[in-house]
Amino acid sequence: MAERVDPTSAPPANPPIIEPGHTFATLTDKISAIVLTQRTPWFWYIGFGASFLLVLVLFYCIAALLTVGIGLFGVMIPVAWGFAIVNFVWWIGIGHAGTLISAILLLLRQKWRQSINRFAEAMTLFAVACAGLFPLIHLGRPWFFYWLLPYPNTMGIQPQFRSPLVWDVFAVSTYLTVSLLFWFLGLIPDLATLRDRAQRRVPRFIYGMLAMGWRGSAVHWHRYEMAYLLLAGLATPLVVSVHTVVSFDFAVALVPGWHSTIFPPYFVAGAIYSGFAMVLTIAIPLRRLYHLEDLITDRHLRNMGVVMLATGMVVAYGYLMETFTAWYSGDVYEQYMMMNRMFGPYGYMYWLLILFNILIPQLLWVRRVHANVPLLFLIAISVNIGMWLERYVIVVVSLHRDYMPSAWGMYSGTIVDYGVLAGSIGLFVCLLFLFIRFLPMISIFEMRELVHDLSEQGQTVRSTE
């Protein structure tokens, strides 16, 4: 049957992107068995149950917000944008790594992407879904969300297309749609695999319907690859545009601390930074619990760590330049904003942000840290927290003291704010658990292709079976 990759062919310094000994058949069986034949493991029930409890918290908070109103949030003039916007930007940013891994690394022909792209894309979808929740509930009357779209209406009004907030509606909904299409297109051949492997009628029927009759015809593959490549090419500028538009929500406003041209690039870098941190946060427990160390190898973790370090340095440069520009501008409000950000009432938030986002990740310079999986996991968690703090510092600390001291105020999240944040994390984790239970979390056909390519690249091949 198929070929085996010889264990001696991988250079020792570079861990392989797939452990030796896998064939087309073993890969297919290993990945599809998680969905089809393995007993659902105990940790799945615990994880799903715990995250579902948080989803119930989310439902409760949303119900309260709908019946009572968004007065339950801590927002009040001057801080009219609170947790909801912080969480929105945080989640959207997390989503970016999925698109980056699946689209940009595809265009750059990075073979190591293939065992992580599927769940990274799923992560993107769920993160964008969580992100989308926040502007919607922050609307106050979410049942009128369609007023954001241009359509002929009896009120005789239209959205203002010069406003970044309207751009945001289009950017985020396009992002969600394109991510969904990209993810589903990638799933179709694997759904066909599951259809052919399923023993029982109901799963066979459901996977069969979702696979839409995919039969792996050479002509179909040809068109499929072309469409997949084009979608990747479309998603690449899209992912850059989405966080750029999100940063315009701030940069176009005149508030000191927001009105800055460095926002778009540093938001995009921050998004990739937090996204890779989240991919690591998910990948490390996942590969351990499902024994996927042979497919998601140390090489993947190392590469993701390196990407995190690089984007983290861009973010650090962003912080540095923000501070420099505030001083160099000679503008008293800008200068005051920066002093207030560092030494004002929320100063501790800024220094925590520097600690979590800049100082702790410097450990990634050390080669041994890449191999230390628990430490890598902790660094990823640190970046997740740091990026949330960054958005908090940008949103809240800039707003709470603007031009007129008579308009200053303080802000803190209420229990409902924290409830919605925790609930959105619960929703994200819950959706991920459902995903790994019912769909192949690693792209099976791309892994088969990878095994084939690796065996073709002059690596010793021997026939087995």
């Binding site: 087309f24 058949a25 069986d29 995919w214 690859e225 084009l230």
Partner: protein, 178 residues
């Protein structure tokens, strides 16, 4: 078998290389109506069975152009014709501000065109297809490679084609029932 009209004959192969070789041979023999089935995309296989060129890029380009023009003129219509707002005498057609949404709608329409286009060209969804009648065919999504020469091909002859397929290093040749 000869009494039941069949869809074609299907040969099974162990590796993409033998399938590719077989497809090239079948092409040289003058077979036109055939298809190959593989668990992952195999480079050069579509060309080997005589497939020339895909229209997917053209469809995506069309979608992108529609999204771009539609997106821009949607905003133009809203801001200039349907709901003009005089903001300090600034021009109504402030086109630089319309670029982000134009860009997003270009991507959206192009992506929708790519997805729907590839499905439409491939004729999916198609819940039934004769190749699924072959029992071994479920391995086409695992580790086996298949070549099917259809009975509709003018050169098709049940016995001669079977003999030809068997000569190609195949693991087995199966009739595909309709």
């Amino acid at each position: 078998m000869a009494t039941i009209p069949i869809y074609g004959l299907m040969a099974e192969f162990r590796s993409p290389e033998t399938l590719l070789h077989a497809a090239e041979r079948a092409s040289q023999e003058g077979f036109k109506r055939m298809d190959a089935y593989t668990p992952f995309p195999v480079e050069g296989l579509a060309e080997a069975i005589g497939f020339r060129r895909t229209r997917v890029p053209l469809i995506v380009l069309g979608g992108g152009i529609i999204g771009c023009l539609g997106g821009f003129f949607l905003q133009y219509w809203v801001a200039v014709i349907d709901y003009p707002l005089n903001v300090g005498g600034r021009p109504l057609n402030s086109w630089p501000a319309y670029i982000p949404v134009t860009f997003e709608l270009t991507i959206l329409c192009a992506a929708l065109a790519a997805f729907l286009g590839v499905l439409a060209l491939n004729g999916l969804p198609m819940p039934y297809h004769p190749v699924f009648n072959v029992e071994r065919f479920e391995l086409a999504s695992r580790n086996r490679f298949f070549l099917c020469i259809e009975a509709a091909d003018p050169n098709f002859d049940p016995d001669a084609t079977r003999g030809f397929l068997e000569s190609l290093n195949s693991e087995g040749v199966y009739p595909v029932e309709r």
